[in-house]
């Protein structure tokens, strides 16, 4: 797992967000920490063992220690849950 920064700001007059990299000349207004799983790994929330995918925004007190990694397994196709 590693934490990279999503940079929120303005570049050449355009508002945007740059996830994990910072272009030259961008005027940053906010930096957000994002936890990324390693390649072919998924992030698992320890508290409820829910698969959170390959990246998530650490905010509202959330920390890296709340997650572990697990090797990704490609499931069968599935119906899309409502929520």
């Amino acid at each position: 797992m590693k934490i990279k920064t999503t940079y929120v700001g303005t570049l050449n007059g355009i508002n945007g967000m740059w996830c994990g990299f910072k272009p030259d000349g961008v005027i940053i207004t906010e930096e957000r920490p994002v936890l990324y799983a390693e390649e072919n790994m998924d992030l698992i929330r320890i508290a409820d063992e829910e698969n959170m995918g390959s990246s998530l925004w650490l905010h509202n007190g959330d920390v890296q220690e709340n997650y572990r990694e697990e090797e990704h397994e490609e499931p069968e196709e599935e119906d899309v849950p409502e929520v």
């Binding site: 999503t6 929120v8 355009i14 508002n15 945007g16 967000m17 740059w18 996830c19 994990g20 990299f21 957000r32 994002v34 990324y36 998924d42 829910e50 698969n51 959170m52 995918g53 390959s54 990246s55 998530l56 925004w57 905010h59 990704h72 397994e73 490609e74 499931p75 196709e77 599935e78 119906d79 899309v80 849950p81 409502e82 929520v83």
Partner: protein, 449 residues
């Protein structure tokens, strides 16, 4: 004369002398007698300051007056007038044989002539005075120009002035017409597009088979007169068969209806759908709920699918296109409501999708998916996603429309209308780059309502 008279006369002369002395500025003594006269004469001022003077004549009068400590000039030398008195006194300004102030002239009178000449080449021309003349006072030069008409070709042309002419007069370049290329015909140009005045009638797909009409009302009429509600033909590579579907049913209420229709009509179909013109809503088209790829079973040739008239593309099952292993592009540019959960996930060749009209994403995970499978474009080669029609009301009660949309995608840029940053800018999926790597999220499209 008596002595007294002589004495009186002498006294008078003495008085006259003192008068003259006084007139000369001398000092008169108190007693003006002969004895004091020498002294009085000696008191007369003599001479003053006299300087020498040299005058160089100019073209203007000169008046020189002694002043100051100088009382006068002597001797006065006036230099001789030379040709330097006027810069124009030069040989070339003086007639030959005439001398002015020592300068001998060399100017020969002009004996000029008037000439009229015609130019018949592009080369330079030199004209000299004729015998008996030493100059040309007036010359009229008449060019000899050729009128020329040029017809453009597909190659560049260098046009030279022919012999006997000095240049081109009126140069006419004909307009470029469709005759410049034999392939500029209606059948070779996209339907509705005009190229050099030729309006196209070609509506897509391959060109191997000939058809007499296409998109005629609800039916196709093939070249042999067969009327069908679909038409098949090969593309120029003669490898892929393309089908244009124009069903007379304008909508399919549910997936089973369309499945049955396809079963009856296209049971042997094996190719790519390149146009569905009149159906307005699509359910789970490619796969039925039993996970069988109905239409495009294990299709390894389809690269492009166009759903031109589709207004809704709503899938409730993931990976609808999973068997189209070389699929590259999908056109849904008229679809206003979409739900494509993990629809293209895992298709490594997939690179582009047109969602120009998508504004209703009120279905859960409309472009998203699950953490395990990923979202609509997970694992693809897509580099740009543009959603210009989204509004602040496009999402309903959900905030998961983009979850994992770009899982295992690197370097993709997603474009949103500028007013949506305040709506979705704080979503976790957006902040994490939709699960991708090095994702760029821009709010650079024109604002919507």
């Amino acid at each position: 004369m008596s002595i007294a008279t002589a004495i009186a006369s002498a006294q008078g002369k003495v008085a006259d002398c003192y008068t003259a002395i006084s007139n000369k500025g001398g000092t008169l003594p108190a007693t003006q007698n002969l004895a004091n006269m020498p002294t009085a004469i000696g008191s007369i001022q003599t001479g003053g300051t006299i300087n020498s003077l040299t005058i160089t004549p100019t073209t203007s009068q000169q008046i020189i007056t002694a002043s100051g400590s100088v009382d006068g000039y002597s001797p006065i030398t006036v230099n001789a007038v030379t040709s330097s008195i006027d810069a124009n006194i030069t040989p070339s300004h003086i007639k030959s044989g005439v001398s002015i102030l020592g300068v001998n002239g060399v100017l020969t009178p002009l004996i000029g002539e008037t000439r009229s000449v015609s130019i018949t080449s592009t080369a330079g021309n030199t004209f000299t005075p004729t015998s008996g003349n030493n100059g040309i006072t007036s010359i009229t030069v008449t060019p000899t120009n050729q009128a020329k008409t040029i017809t453009p070709t597909t190659s560049s042309q260098s046009i030279s002035v022919p012999s006997g002419y000095s240049g081109f007069g009126t140069l006419t370049v004909n307009a470029v017409t469709s005759s410049i290329d034999a392939n500029i015909t209606a059948g070779n140009i996209k339907d509705g597009v005009s190229i050099l005045g030729v309006t196209g009638t070609y509506s897509g797909g391959g060109g191997g088979s000939s058809v007499s009409s296409i998109f005629d009302s609800n039916y196709f009429v093939s070249s042999n007169g067969t009327i069908t509600n679909y038409i098949s033909f090969s593309d120029q590579s003669s490898v892929i068969h393309h089908y244009i579907l124009k069903p007379f049913a304008t909508s399919f209420a549910n997936s089973s209806t369309i499945h049955n229709w396809l079963d009856e009509t296209l049971s042997e179909v094996n190719g790519s759908i390149i146009g569905i013109k009149s159906i307005t809503k699509i359910g789970n088209l490619i796969k039925n709920p039993n996970s069988t790829s109905l239409l495009l079973n294990e299709d390894t040739s389809t690269e492009y699918i166009s759903f031109r008239a589709l207004k809704e593309a709503v899938f409730t099952t993931t990976k609808q296109f999973q068997y189209l292993t070389v699929l590259k592009k999908v056109d849904l540019h008229n679809a206003e409501k979409i739900a494509l959960p993990a629809s293209f996930a895992g298709l490594s060749s997939f690179e582009a999708i047109d969602l120009s009209s998508a504004e209703d994403l009120t279905t859960a995970r409309a472009l998203g998916g699950t953490a395990s499978i990923g979202g609509a474009f997970a694992g693809t080669s897509i580099t740009t996603v543009s959603l210009p029609a989204l509004k602040s009301t496009s999402f309903g009660s959900y905030t998961n429309q983009f979850d994992y949309m770009l899982k295992n995608v690197t370097g993709c840029t997603v474009h949103f209308p500028s007013n949506l940053q305040s709506v979705i800018g704080s979503w976790t999926s957006v902040t994490s780059g939709f699960g991708g790597t090095n994702t760029t999220v821009l709010f650079d499209l024109p604002a919507t309502s």
